[in-house]
Structure formats: structure tokens, C-alpha cells
């Protein structure tokens, strides 16, 4: 049962353009969402997060949008750079509950073409 879904396995964009990575979730108890970035042969690294009380969070070139009613979030990278080429994981967790744990999606492989 995939509670966090990243339905597009890959995305290719031109350098300088916008990259939009989508994520959907099914568990309405999730109220904190994170994006992790992973390069080959390295562990995932935290990129940006958003809580359910917000609909947007921005950090430099990275912006995450949250649509709670649609159970959808997206990561925008503007402008995209070749160094952004990596696998991006969407993750979510509920703040309440006995065993609050992070649930990851399958990841999206982003390729930024020079």
C-alpha cells in the first residue's frame, strides 16, 4: 500500500528551465512533508520541507507547494542546473500517533540537460 506516490519515474528538462516534481499521498494523517535528494552511491540528503499549515515554502531555487485538499505536493526548481540531476524522494509523516515514522515515495530521477 503506497501511501506516498511519485507516479512519474523520471523527468528530463533543459538547463535554465523549470523542473516540476510531483507527489501524491493517501494518508490524511500526514502533516509534515519533506523532499530528499540522492546522488548515486550517496545517501539521501534533506532538501526542503513543508508543514500542513502552509501551502508554500521557498528556499533559494527550490519551492515546495502543498495542496492539502488534493493530497498533492510539488517541488519546483527554478532555474534547473545540471548539478540538480539526481533522484528526488518525497516523504511524509504524521506528527501525532504512537509510531510517527517517515514514509518515502519511490523517487523521481531528474536529468537536467546542459
Amino acid at each position: 500500500d503506497q501511501q506516498v506516490k511519485q507516479n512519474s519515474p523520471s523527468l528530463s528538462v533543459q538547463e535554465g528551465r523549470i523542473s516540476i516534481l510531483n507527489c501524491d499521498y493517501t494518508n490524511s494523517m500526514f502533516d509534515y512533508f519533506l523532499w530528499y535528494k540522492k546522488y548515486p552511491a550517496e545517501g539521501p540528503t534533506f532538501l526542503i520541507s513543508i508543514s500542513s499549515i502552509k501551502d508554500k515554502n521557498e528556499d533559494g531555487r527550490f519551492t515546495v507547494f502543498l495542496n492539502k485538499s488534493a493530497k498533492h505536493l510539488s517541488l519546483h526548481i527554478v532555474p534547473s542546473q545540471p548539478g540538480d540531476s539526481a533522484v528526488y524522494f518525497c516523504a511524509a509523516f504524521p506528527l501525532t500517533g504512537a509510531n510517527s515514522k517517515l514514509t518515502f515515495g519511490k523517487g523521481i530521477t531528474l536529468s537536467v540537460r546542459p
Partner: protein, 117 residues
Amino acid sequence: EAGVAQSPRYKIIEKRQSVAFWCNPISGHATLYWYQQILGQGPKLLIQFQNNGVVDDSQLPKDRFSAERLKGVDSTLKIQPAKLEDSAVYLCASSLGTGLWGANVLTFGAGSRLTVL
């Protein structure tokens, strides 16, 4: 600040053999996690420790997997006997705590890639 250290980075074994992975978290991080990442999938939590106590091991195949964090610092994950489907990257991560804003910002190690033949 030193990151999360894991060893070995790579291990190849035959099915039914045993293997152990070691993890040293970031100093001061009370919570330690072991994740399994199978190719093409997202990381799946195997076990979570808070200091040296187990918080969640609901997805750990306890008939073959075991993990310990005896002194509340470093941890070992063992698989015995290994099966072909255990081929994956085993990621260790740590965080300051649980259930708090920012506490689920995990810092991951580079992982230990296991191949079972």
C-alpha cells in the same frame, strides 16, 4: 560535523550466508534508523531506535534480521540467513528526536550495498 558512518560500503554473499552492517550516527543524535532501499523503490524503514530502545520494528523480518544499539550510540544490523530478495542498499540515518518539527530531518549515511547471489 562528522556525518553518519556506515561500513562496509559493499558486500557480496551467497544466499543462506550471514552479513552484518555497522553504523555510527551523528554525535548527540538520539534516534537511529535502519532503512532498506531496493532498486527502484524508496527507502523502507526496518527499525528505529530511540537511544538504545526500539521504537518501531514492525517492518523488520525478525526471522532473519536483527539489530541492536547496545550503548545508545552505534548500531549493528544483521541478516542471517540471507535470501536473494535481501539484495538492497541498507541505509542508516540519525536524527535529534521524534515527533518534533525538524526532528524528522534525517541525516543518512552513504549506505551499504548488499548483493546476495
